[in-house]
């Protein structure tokens, strides 16, 4: 269940990227681009409509009991009802807020821990040779299995979910930060050496800025994983978040409600991913255009 949710979240941002690319091309003044861009958008919409149509046909065909397989219309109605409910301040809004805070706090925690451990691993021999093997060992463990441990340690409140979310999300940031620090070009290191730069100056003025594109790649992966972590935490640790509502609705066989909640979760994941992408474009501004860098090698 949780894994399926994760894949859905990963797939969604990709869709958005394609859409953006399509509209960007369509909006460009070049006519060739406009001609090529329109069919992409049309194809995209047509495919979406086709999927919805098939879903709808299966739902109304009577082949599957409607209580187990709500159609797109049921899900849309339920989603709308929930949105209206939230506007009038019912408990779903509170659940959404709880889950969102878990996701955001878990994300911040994952970034802090991931970045610091990434620097330790990427910058020191001790980190590379001694710490990294243990981190790899932790990474290959089924992290979801730790959920009950965190509940035992941090209780049924928000903190156990925050820790679970961070725990699932932090590893890619470590790996990408360390890889980014190691990706610095030898010639640039030699330049800094010839300028008499201290280790600290080399890290701040050369290695970290150079590692930013890698770090953002890790943070984007984490943005997807952190939602998975928060929901898994709620499935296994109770509380009042959306995960708990999904569990409850599923036990009442209100699958239209379950799908509506999943849509809300996906939107939160999507917004988080888009936010990181936006910040990335601001911060790593020099990666905008294609590479004109001269390379001797």
């Amino acid at each position: 269940m949780a894994v399926a949710q994760g894949t859905e979240n990963t797939a969604m941002p990709q869709t958005v990227v394609t859409e953006n690319a399509g509209s960007a091309v369509a909006a460009s003044p070049r006519r060739a681009g406009a001609r090529r861009g329109l069919p992409t958008a049309v194809n995209l919409a047509a495919f979406g409509v086709a999927v919805l149509a098939v879903w709808h046909l299966i739902a109304i065909s009577g082949l599957v009991p409607p209580i187990l397989f709500p159609g797109p219309v049921d899900v849309a109605q339920e989603t709308w009802r929930t949105v209206v409910g939230m506007a009038t301040g019912d408990h779903v809004l509170e659940s959404l807020w709880i889950t969102t805070s878990e996701i955001l706090l878990g994300f911040v925690l994952a970034i802090l821990v991931g970045f610091l451990l990434g620097c330790l691993v990427g910058e020191t021999k001790f980190g590379t040779n001694v710490v990294m093997p243990y981190l790899v060992a932790i990474n290959v463990m089924p992290k979801v299995a730790f959920a009950p441990v965190f509940v035992a340690w941090f209780g049924f409140g928000i903190s156990s979910k925050v820790v679970m979310a961070a725990f699932i999300a932090f590893f890619p940031i470590i790996v990408d930060t360390a890889a980014g620090l190691a990706s610095v070009e030898r010639n640039k290191l030699m330049l800094f050496q010839s300028l008499g730069a201290s280790r600290w100056q080399t890290l701040l003025k050369l290695k970290l800025p150079g590692a930013l594109p890698h770090i953002f790649a890790g943070v984007k992966t984490a943005a997807v994983l952190v939602v998975v972590g928060a929901v898994v935490g709620e499935y296994l640790g109770g509380g009042n978040g959306l995960g708990e509502l999904i569990k409850l609705s599923a036990s009442q066989l209100r699958l239209d409600r379950v799908f509506a909640m999943i849509i809300f979760l996906s939107v939160v994941g999507l917004l988080l991913y888009a936010l990181v992408g936006r910040i990335e474009r601001k911060v790593v501004f020099w990666r905008h255009s294609s590479h004109l860098e001269i390379n001797g090698s």
Partner: protein, 270 residues
Amino acid sequence: MTTTLDRGASTPPPPISAAVSVDQLSKTFTSRGVHALENISLELDPGTFASLIGPSGCGKSTLLKIMAGLLDATEGTVEIGGSRVEGPRPDIGMMFQEATLLPWRSTIENVVLPLEISHGRAAAKAARPKAMELLTTVGIGGFADAYPEELSGGMAQRAAICRMLITEPSVLFLDEPFGALDELTRELMNDELQRICASRDATSVMVTHSIAEAVYLSDVIYVMSARPGRIAARIEVDLPRPRTVDMITTPEFGQVMREVRAHLDSGAML
């Protein structure tokens, strides 16, 4: 005050140039057991332009790095301006084959980077007018606020030259500075380099693969042989300055080139 088109007129007063001497220098890479350099000695008067030329693996880049204090010698010493080189020094300017500009800094921010590292942000900011002047002398003043990805290879190397000159070094070490550029840009850059070295009177050492380039720029050429790297010949270039592209086709130029080539061939076969 300074006019950009008038060549040489806009350059600041030349820094005091320094003599460079290398005394019985040897280098062994113990980890690989490679005997890279053996008993290298050379003396350069202040203001001399010298080239190191030799087959791949003759240790010419290693020698330059030791002279610049980036590598330790196994035996022997390097002295610049009478004091021993024991590490990177502010009076040494270095240039590499690639421009190695930082893509997140604008051209002018790249040029003042050495001062930012040695004297802090305030000093770097104060040096901006000087950086601007340098950029203007090499003809890319209009690109001061552009980012490296907007620069061509030749423009990037011009910016790298400015970065090297901002600290007013008394010696310049150039490790195949234009090796990554196309032939035409390379000729232009060599002219630029000749002009800069002449106006500053800085002592310069360049590592190169190109015989023509070495003859064109140098007062003296050290031909090196490989395994272990040592100096096979010292050839003085007695062509008048400033050197021009027309001189490349003269018999005198050809004669020096033949001499270098002869030593290169015999040296490579040792």
